[in-house]
């Protein structure tokens, strides 16, 4: 009896949670805005997308002008996944490349905890050493008050996830989750007939930047009359990814395409088709080296949308511009967010780098490449 009650309660709760998510992560206005941004021509130096921006809006920073080498402080949410590992290397390498302009770089890691990051920011501000504060927030709502308080005392640059306030000088981010889902969804839809089947493989539920990727792709699949035969969470686990795909294939489900909200297990999904002796599906992965190499070697029909890690270079550039009193793109500094296609793919492959290296790191000309990113000489 109690089990029945629990089951009913669980079903009801997950239903409610699903409805709530649908409202939060499917915003047609944002979808349309990001779709437009994907096709915009960026402004700024050619070939250096981390220094480019979309749109014209700039903010004045004259009041923060400060002479002499800068002490830059960075409150990082954590380095809990390969994307952030690559990003952190970009960040440190960019700071190194700036040489004498930076007196000291102080980095504190919140280890994925909101309360630690709030304390970190308060300590950095109270310490009085920072000329400028860079924040990569762990979660949006929880970090908003701390960032707001800091922004009253010194210039603040926020990147990756945002905060619910315009107090920081600028908020740096690529086009966004909808853009990721639009790039990959449109490619898959263009390669399939109406009525074809796509299997969506996702990391975890409930994360805004991932949910928006899925909602955008789902919108496009629905419009194109493509069936989403399943939406499965893999926890970024290769074994689980491969097992999930095998189960679908064993059920005799025809899978024409695989859509992924993050590419770190893309090659595991493809192996399930290999082991079953089936032809490869159309697939959207991400800009990891292993996927790009597999795509080239097997001549796949594929696309690699990105959430570029080169955005970790931009906050350093922004911080130095602000202290120099130069206007910076703001209040949002939107970076271009390219998808790797069959035409551009080979330029992003570097055999020296580890399999899960994010190719859009923009780090090829930074000090310590490729060893800093785990590559071999």
């Amino acid at each position: 009896m109690s089990m029945k009650v629990m089951l009913v309660a669980t079903v009801a709760l997950s239903g409610l949670a699903g409805a709530a998510m649908a409202q939060d992560f499917n915003d047609p206005a944002e979808f349309a805005k990001q779709r437009e941004q994907l096709s915009m021509t960026p402004q700024g130096p050619e070939g250096a997308p981390w220094a480019q921006h979309l749109g014209d809006s700039m903010v004045d920073t004259a009041k923060w002008k400060k002479d002499g080498p800068a002490t830059i402080c960075f409150s990082n949410a954590g380095i809990f996944n390969p994307w952030r590992v690559v990003g952190m290397h970009n960040f440190q390498a960019e700071a190194e490349a700036q040489g004498d302009k930076i007196k000291e770089l102080i980095v504190v890691d919140a280890e994925g905890k909101d309360e630690k990051q709030i304390a970190d920011i308060e300590a950095l501000v109270a310490g009085g050493k920072c000329d400028v504060l860079i924040v990569s927030p762990n979660t949006t709502a929880a970090l908003t008050p701390a960032v707001e308080a800091a922004a009253a005392k010194l210039p603040v640059v926020v990147f990756d996830r945002g905060v619910n306030t315009t107090a920081p000088v600028t908020y740096i981010h690529p086009v966004g989750g909808y853009g990721f889902g639009i790039s990959s969804g449109e490619f898959i839809a263009s390669k399939l007939e109406k009525g074809a089947n796509v299997l969506a493989l996702r990391i975890v539920p409930g994360v805004d930047v991932l949910e928006t990727r899925y909602s955008a792709a789902k919108t496009i699949f629905d419009e194109a009359g493509i069936n989403v035969v399943g939406s499965e969470f893999t926890g970024s686990d290769r074994a689980k990814t491969k097992a999930v795909v095998e189960d679908y294939l064993n059920r005799g489900v025809q899978i024409d395409a695989i859509w992924m909200d993050a590419g770190d297990t893309a090659t595991a999904a493809l192996e399930a088709f290999e082991d079953a002796g089936l032809p490869y599906p159309v697939i959207s992965g991400e800009d990891q080296q292993d996927f790009l190499r597999k795509w080239r070697d097997e001549n796949l029909t594929a696309i690699a949308p990105s959430y570029p890690t080169y955005q970790w270079r931009t906050p350093i550039l922004a911080a130095l511009d602000i202290l120099a009193g130069k206007p910076v793109p703001g209040p949002e500094w939107v970076l271009p967010q390219p998808a790797i296609t069959a035409e551009t793919r080979d330029g992003y492959i570097d055999e020296k780098l580890p399999p899960l290296h994010y190719s859009l790191c923009g780090c090829q000309n930074l000090p310590g490449y490729p060893a800093r990113w785990g590559g071999s000489e």
Binding site: T10, I79, S236, D247, N250, E271, P354, G374, S376
Partner: protein
């Protein structure tokens, strides 16, 4: 001595209950997806279940002696990470690296065993500690992201399958590894005197010591075997799906749950290798079943938890009823 007399009977019942549960779950799978009756798909099921079965069989050694080994998941992760970093895609490095991995596994098991046997630290704490330092070590070594690459011949141990084999359709190499390892582990428990000594230690270490059984050595052996089984599971898992920094997450609890579902008694004193085998296969059949049903993730986790509690509760109730 009367206790020892009743053991064969207890073991027989455990076999039947675990096997029955597995057959029921597999029948449900077949009901939903009839092609799971094909030998090829059954072989594929075994291939994927092999790492968990081997882990559970190793874990059983420790459970027989009255302990837990919570470090096996970390050993699996460490094995996969280390294999990728050490071979770095070089097929010639495969066999030396595998030898080295087993050496490392033996070292980890020895460490666990010595801490439990001589420092008298409860195994749940000792192996929890090992889990933490080992995960930390793997994280520090890899830098948090999968690096290096596994060569083809390493991957084949968990991935390769012979096609068009008579009777079974496809024959995965992992299934051969599974059978060989199980034969070895079965012989360890039932073929030589070790199993009886382990049961005696798990049942009542003081009495075992007075009876002249080398308690410390029996315990240390159990942890070494468990760690070596975990290395084997790591090699198969890395082979099946490739480099991953979270390959072993959650496997320690799954392997313990498997033994208990199969009828082994926590804190020692009862169990056979078949408890681990049927328990692990049942657990894996349950995972597959929930996957095939296509339920939402949240519901899947809840159902999995409830079924585990029911299965373990039934085992406990059965053993009470028998006493």
């Amino acid at each position: 001595m009367s206790d020892a007399m009743s053991k064969p009977r207890a073991a027989r019942i455990a076999i039947n209950a675990g096997l029955l549960l597995f057959l029921c779950l597999y029948a449900l799978i077949v009901l939903i997806q009839p092609n799971y009756l094909e030998p090829g798909l059954f072989m594929n099921f075994l291939r994927r279940a092999a790492p968990l079965v081997i882990l559970a069989a190793g874990q059983l050694y420790v459970i027989l002696t009255g302990g837990f080994d919570l470090s096996v998941g970390a050993v699996v992760t460490f094995t996969v990470t280390a294999a990728a970093l050490l071979t770095n895609g070089d097929p010639d490095a495969t066999w030396p690296v595998i030898a080295l991995l087993y050496l490392m596994g033996a070292g980890i098991g020895l460490f666990n065993g010595l801490v439990v046997a001589f420092l008298k630290v409860p195994s749940i704490i000792a192996t929890l500690g090992t889990m933490l330092w080992l995960n930390g070590l793997a994280l520090a070594w890899s830098g948090g992201a999968a690096r290096g690459d596994l060569p083809e011949n390493f991957r084949n141990l968990g991935r390769f399958q012979w096609r068009d084999v008579a009777l079974v359709g496809t024959l995965p190499m992992a299934v051969l590894v599974l059978v060989a390892v199980l034969a070895l582990l079965w012989w360890g428990v039932h073929g030589i005197g070790y199993g009886r000594r382990a049961l005696a230690v798990g049942d009542n270490p003081r009495a075992a010591e007075l009876a002249g059984i080398p308690v410390g050595r029996t315990r240390i052996t159990a942890f070494v075997i468990s760690a070596l089984a975990a290395v084997t599971a790591g090699i198969l898992l890395g082979g099946f799906s490739g480099v991953s920094v979270n390959a072993g997450v959650g496997l320690e609890l799954q392997s313990i749950a498997a033994c208990v579902i199969g009828g082994a008694m926590l804190l020692g004193g009862r169990g056979t290798i078949w408890c681990a085998v049927w328990g692990a296969l049942s657990l894996f059949a349950l995972f597959t079943l929930l996957n095939l049903l296509g339920l939402p993730q949240a519901l899947r986790d809840s159902i999995q938890g409830l079924i585990l509690i029911v299965a373990v509760g039934l085992t406990a109730w059965r053993s009470r009823a028998r006493n």
